[in-house]
Symmetry: D2
Subunit: 298 residues, 4 copies
């Protein structure tokens, strides 16, 4: 299959369940909301070594936020127990501390029915001076702080979503493949209910499970997809003429959201000159319950 | 004491020892270096709830980096044991995975003699395909990855630096104080060897140790500095006419670096119309070994 | 009338006819489209001293552009004759020269019926090597250039729109009023078919027609609205307690679009703490055919 | 000659005299200074169709500005008579109108002796309410405006500088060459006294003087450097294997500044993977008095 002259591999992305919360952070200006959202979603590329996976889902215009101020929706993804800890800590340390912010649950907007609810009791920070209020139909706590007041909901939904949706952007050389990946991430940014948690949304060093040589390593370089090893490994998966490969990894509130993100991302990547081949990563289908086939979503 | 018509309180910031590493992240463009640096320093406002304190120190021009590409210097600060873990994880998860990046030790550039060295053995990720090289006088590992090669030093210096340098920017109202804080953070960004780890560099909700009402809380709102509680608490420290207070918290490689950052930050803040009062936070002088007096540094 | 505790003056903005074109600039990434759009809309705050008024209307997602790449819609506004010259020059100098760009008419998307058509014959730049093509249902010229090919439509619609829609954001001090203005500009950015052509969308130095003292001046400071002159001029219009005033000036494809932008901007500004008063600028109603009353649009 | 494996053509850039002014724009924050600088330097890529060539030279830290606030230095370049008009109009329309800005002459900082002085009498805007002051050793006018006061010097130096310094970045494909060009522009941004006036600093459509086919055209595509015409024109200058070419055009206060910018830009471009060839544009040496040889500056 070809799209805009780019070969689309006949394969699938293998994805996994993960628990997901979604928080709307509003602030006095878009920019301050963005700064808080960025801090709250950092150090969160992969649960392999980070405490969670997190990212900015999308901008939320003032008319769609409970307090009528501009905001950003972030998503935090992890195992069920870890999710609660991470939502609490990231809101407490990175949003309660941020100038002019307020937080609201944003999961129902994209996920409909919510499986579970996470309590986030930041109001104890008020040391007794806090009080309950209602804003935009939500029950919130107002906590006196040095800048004035912090406003926040304290119950956040969580759903069983999908982690590890992915595709590979391959190009004639690094800059072609990288710009293709950047275009893909931009496009995915417009799909509600998904994040690309890696730096700039892009993975430069996709990995395989375990290691052939170093038994203590839980993951190591995916040598079959390394262009510089094409002639050194057997069964290299690097197509002829491909000089660089980037992986886009997507977490989402549902398989449908992840599939749509993969579609939009691939359609954007193939528009970039020098992108020549699109594939996806899987583990033979034995590990993850979700199999998202490239040819089906396109 | 007054500066540009703004009262400077006769007090001091009380600061603490912390272990600090500094890493230069280079990339093909400034922008990609910045994206990696941002991801690597997220979720790192305060060791109260984050695994470390981290931030971008400054841009490093190509002529000052070992590989002649543009870069950003980041600083990671924590207790000694935690520091090693965090340098390893943040480089492994947020920089090795980022497009086109390379990493180099950047501590000696700002700290002179280095107290300790942290090994960061990412080369095992190469699964035997990695190799040693020399770049710009540094011994690095080149690891084959999907985009091509990742280049990185594997020994990073650590020094006993200073955490919790701080000052308070007080203004007639929120936006005056906040813009003063923003101007301060911009100015501090030009001082080498320091970071402001909070969102956008600014703390909106400075805290006190413990809680009067909720014994299980390790920290709670600093009610004496809350403008909305001025008439409700005894001994409020909010000066008359002050409507909002932001705290700037600074970590640095040395007391001198932190002092210079405080000076530059305060000089910038007092230039902002509506900023009326500058103070600093301390705990009576019993907790931290460093006491940085505002009147002395200005 | 009050909105969120902020007084809304019972007055109107007086606005004028102006000719408007709207161009969609696409590029390989959002960022390159943005750079071209920024250059093409610079030096275009006011027709008093600039050759036109211009600005970025909004981001246009790939699925809504003729070539399926991300883009920005810009608007160029001027007298009828000057408009043609400016559309030609700004596309020729600032977009044809910009990396990876293509241009398409974007007026019908927001203005429905189009009054006139402007020919923009850039294809002569191809020196005979250019050729006609069809892309996304549009007839375009493909011009060989050093980077590859430039793609562009050569007919752009023009409508008689509205210039000078405006409101004043007044605050306790400069930073409150300025942040209110910034929030207003952010909100207006989401309304299709309008621009705020001044730097950052904000006017710091609103003017009156002519000058009392210097007869050679066509415009001079609006002393009745200068806070520092409140006690020096008779009939100052600066409300008590107001320390700074910013004007937001809006051009749009129609009175409806400008009215909506004014509404969204005002609703955003009044959410900013320290903003205390909203008014609008007019000339007694004798100059402009459009009178947009604040109380009616809110 | 090769640099980092990239061929450097044995040729020269042919450059021309142009008059140059340099203005420091300060503001309450870096960001507001940047917004004003961007507006003031837009629609200024080439004097072929724009009223001048202009761009941001560099950031100026607070400690180096007359009023101790952060700023950006912009450069405006044109013929002598046009320069005066453009400095006046761009400051009047794009900086006097911008929030919190002040302007100061910035030419002596980078050009030493100044050839001429341009009067910029904006103070008449004050309609008699303006007054003279001294700030940082400069005589300025303070003009009452709606936000408060505008501060500005009214004499700006002008020197006979150099326009049209240039080099070509050629790559295997568009994205490699474009990223090379972006890296070059980033590097040039650190050289004082120069600008790259095109969108994002890059020219995608370098031109030749006149046209072979359309006699009314003053400039047209440089078909000898068009990759898509390599097999259609005689004497194509596109090296084998080159898929795209971008031109970086530099204006500066002196030949030395332009030469340094060319050197820094080329050294940055050759670091980008996929960049394969660097050349420069000239007209056989008959038009411009400056000939800057690539091999000499490197």
């Amino acid at each position: 299959m070809e799209l805009n002259g780019v070969t689309i591999d006949d394969t699938y992305a293998e994805a996994f369940p993960i628990w997901v919360s979604r928080v709307i952070i509003t602030a006095v200006t878009e920019q301050w909301a963005y700064k808080a959202a960025t801090e709250a979603t950092g150090f969160a590329t992969s649960t392999i070594g980070c405490p969670c996976e997190a990212g900015i889902d999308c901008f939320v215009p003032a008319e769609s936020t409970p307090d009528g101020r501009p905001g950003y929706a972030i998503m935090i993804c992890a195992g069920k127990k870890k999710l609660k800890e991470q939502v609490v800590e990231r809101l407490a340390e990175c949003v309660l501390t941020a100038p002019t912010t307020a937080v609201f649950d944003g999961l129902a907007d994209v996920a409909g029915d919510v499986d579970e609810t996470i309590p986030v009791k930041l109001h104890f920070f008020g040391d007794g001076y806090e009080e309950k209020r209602e804003i935009g139909g939500r029950t919130v706590w107002a906590i006196p702080i040095m800048e004035g007041e912090y406003i926040g909901e304290e119950e956040f939904g969580a759903v069983k979503g999908v982690a590890g949706g992915n595709f590979f952007v391959m190009g004639e050389n690094q800059m072609a493949a990288l710009t293709g990946a950047e275009a893909a991430v931009d496009a995915i940014g417009l799909v509600p209910g998904v994040i690309t948690s890696f730096p700039g949304g892009v993975v430069a060093s996709g990995s395989k499970v375990g290691s052939l040589k170093y038994k203590f390593m839980g993951a190591s370089t995916n040598e079959k997809y390394c262009p510089t090893l094409k002639d050194k490994v057997s069964e290299s998966m690097v197509p002829d003429g491909v000089g660089a490969i980037y992986e886009i990894v997507i977490d989402g509130v549902s398989e449908a959201a992840v599939s749509e993100a993969m579609e939009m991302g691939i359609r954007a990547a193939v528009k970039v000159p020098g992108v020549t081949y699109i594939s996806a990563g899987n583990f033979g289908g034995n590990l993850g319950p979700f199999k998202i086939r490239l040819h089906e979503i396109l």
